[in-house]
């Protein structure tokens, strides 16, 4: 819209009179003032979002020694650094698969909006409030070698040996599932409830039993959303940090990539290396996300209603 009409409508607004009537001014008049305020805010926000990233990227190419790629070379040649990628993947991928794989059937069961659904949804979402540290604490208490699970099993004479579920791979995996499940569940639930239930009815009227309804109707329509959910859940899981420290063994089997970056920043005071490691972490995430989203483009991506109406 033109500057003059914007100005006149603003003036009219300030004077308390209706802006000159035309289809565009009428539709936009209420927000002209907001737009003016937003412009500097936009600039500011963009700086906040983009600048740290660009700065960090630049910094990663300015290592303490070696050329521009010194940090990266260092990472891939140091024995306690480059395997962290694999270690993290080993944790993140199964955790994501479990989260998405569990969330899907449960969200599917919950697709009808009943009171039962609302309460279960609320409870399932509670772990969001727990925070990683509390989860770690609880997991340690419960799954630790002298923890309650061990004591219960001994009490019931099911298993007498020590339980090795903490300070190793399993502790971190369990913690990742507990903290990642609510997000995956809520996201998938919102996709499922977005699918018009009359489509399932139409399929049933055509002879599709519940299994066939899921396979032919829900699954294809969910596939894009599932891919999105996988990506978001994966990114979360790949960024694992506190659980790996508290519930894992950061020196060895659960030395995830974020630990490597943390050490670089806080123990070696090498911010440049830390940035480089963060960039590598982001890059790996990007590769996997791009791959999954690329797969998703092979599926249907359009509207999920059944036609006019």
């Amino acid at each position: 819209m033109s500057r003059s009409s914007a100005r006149s409508s603003i003036r009219a607004t300030l004077r308390g009179r209706e802006a000159p009537v035309s289809a565009t001014t009428l539709a936009r008049a209420p927000f002209d003032r907001a737009l003016l305020l937003v412009v500097p805010a936009t600039a500011f926000m963009l700086i906040l979002f983009v600048y740290p990233f660009l700065y960090g990227l630049g910094l990663s190419f300015e290592p303490k020694e070696g050329g521009a790629l010194g940090n990266y070379r260092h990472f891939f040649t140091t024995d306690n650094l480059w395997p962290t990628i694999w270690t993290t993947l080993r944790l993140a991928v199964p955790a994501t698969l479990i989260n998405v794989g569990l969330a899907l059937p449960i969200a599917y069961k919950m697709r009808v909006k009943t009171r039962y659904q609302r309460w279960v949804t609320t409870i399932l979402v509670v772990p969001i409030t727990l925070g990683t540290v509390l989860i770690a604490e609880g997991a340690l208490t419960y799954f630790g070698p002298k923890g309650w699970l061990s004591q219960t099993l001994q009490l019931l004479h099911i298993y007498d040996g020590p339980i090795r579920l903490t300070h190793n791979y399993w502790g971190v995996l369990i913690s990742l599932v507990i903290s990642g499940f609510p997000f995956a569940f809520l996201l998938i639930l919102s996709y499922i409830t977005g699918i018009d239930p009359v489509l399932a009815r139409a399929a049933a009227a055509l002879g599709a039993d519940p299994a066939a309804q899921f396979r032919h109707i829900y699954l294809p329509l969910l596939a894009p959303g599932l891919a999105m959910c996988f990506c978001l859940a994966f990114v979360q899981a790949f960024s694992v940090f506190p659980s790996a420290v508290l519930l894992g063994s950061p020196a060895g089997p659960t030395r995830v990539i974020s630990i490597a970056a943390y050490e670089a920043a806080f123990e070696q005071y090498d911010y440049s290396l830390a940035s480089a490691i963060a960039m590598i972490m982001g890059f790996v995430q990007l590769v996997i996300v791009a791959a999954v989203l690329g797969l998703r483009n092979l599926f249907y991506r359009g509207p999920v209603t059944g036609g006019k109406g």
Binding site: P30, F53, Y55, G56, V126, T129, L232, S239, A261
Partner: protein, 272 residues
């Protein structure tokens, strides 16, 4: 009306599975809650004595009190700023067309796919480079960046579901644009605004990884304080403070889900 027995069985089985998963997810919370009331410092199952002394100790512990205070300050500011900025951007994205709209949207939503860790590190480095002290400002700004996507999405979805004709009707009845905004648009958007804000507040209050990087000793938030505590001590005061913390946020979250439909906040793709 008879139901086929097979259907019943399947339904029961499904309910059991859901209950099992619920139990598993809530396990840490339950365990910690019970441990908090344990009379002794050592964990035994079941606890043989009960006491609230850990609550007393935890609530008196200066680090926890400071952490709680700091957490509130940071969360209040961060969620408020995120709400205003996020809502403004949501308006702009919903109602205007301009050249770099897609880019703007991507940038604003990018924190969703970037590790909190990276964001925290980025701000830490930036603060160090610019010579800015590691005070509240850095933490608040960091949190704003982290929670903005959620607020943005929540308000955007609400805007999409808002029938523009209400505003046009009000305008046709003589309401000036500011009036329309105040009496029509904002009240109708209220659920989206509040749930977005609430979610942002809860995320910010719970945020750990990025906060670990950008907070200093005097600005550390509660999760960071808890983390530092648990690395050195192993007594149930940690559990006690966790219970307090958990009850507060769970109550808020229940309120949000039951009354405001929190599920819509995470509706990343579809606008229904």
């Amino acid at each position: 009306m008879t139901r086929l027995p097979a259907r019943r069985l399947l339904r029961l089985f499904g309910a059991l599975v859901v209950a099992a998963i619920l139990g598993f997810l809530l396990l840490p919370a339950i365990v910690v809650a019970l441990a908090a009331f344990n009379g002794r410092a050592i964990l035994s199952f079941p606890p043989d004595t009960w006491s609230v002394r850990w609550f007393v100790k935890a609530l008196a512990y200066e680090d926890f009190r400071a952490g709680f205070r700091n957490g509130l300050i940071v969360t209040a500011w961060a969620s408020a700023i995120a709400l205003v900025v996020g809502a403004a951007f949501a308006f702009v994205l919903d109602r205007y067309e301009f050249r770099f709209k897609r880019t703007l949207e991507t940038v604003l939503l990018s924190p969703l796919v970037i590790a909190h860790f990276t964001v925290g590190l980025g701000f830490l480095i930036l603060a160090a480079q610019l010579g800015v002290a590691r005070g509240y400002a850095v933490v608040i700004v960091c949190h704003v960046v982290l929670v903005l996507p959620f607020v943005l999405r929540s308000v955007y979805v609400s805007l999409r579901n808002l029938d523009r004709r209400f505003e046009l009707a009000a305008a046709s009845l003589g309401a000036p644009p500011g009036r329309v905004l105040a009496t029509i648009t904002l009240p109708l958007l209220l659920p989206g605004l509040v749930s977005g804000w609430l979610f942002a507040a809860i995320l910010s209050f719970n945020e750990f990884t990025a906060s670990l990087f950008v907070t200093a000793q005097r600005t550390q938030t509660l999760p960071v304080a808890m983390y530092n505590y648990v690395r050195e001590y192993a007594d149930p005061s940690m559990a006690a403070i966790s219970v307090v913390y958990f009850v507060a946020t769970a109550a808020l979250l229940t309120f949000a889900t039951v009354f405001l439909g929190l599920g819509k906040v995470l509706n990343v793709e579809q606008a229904r």
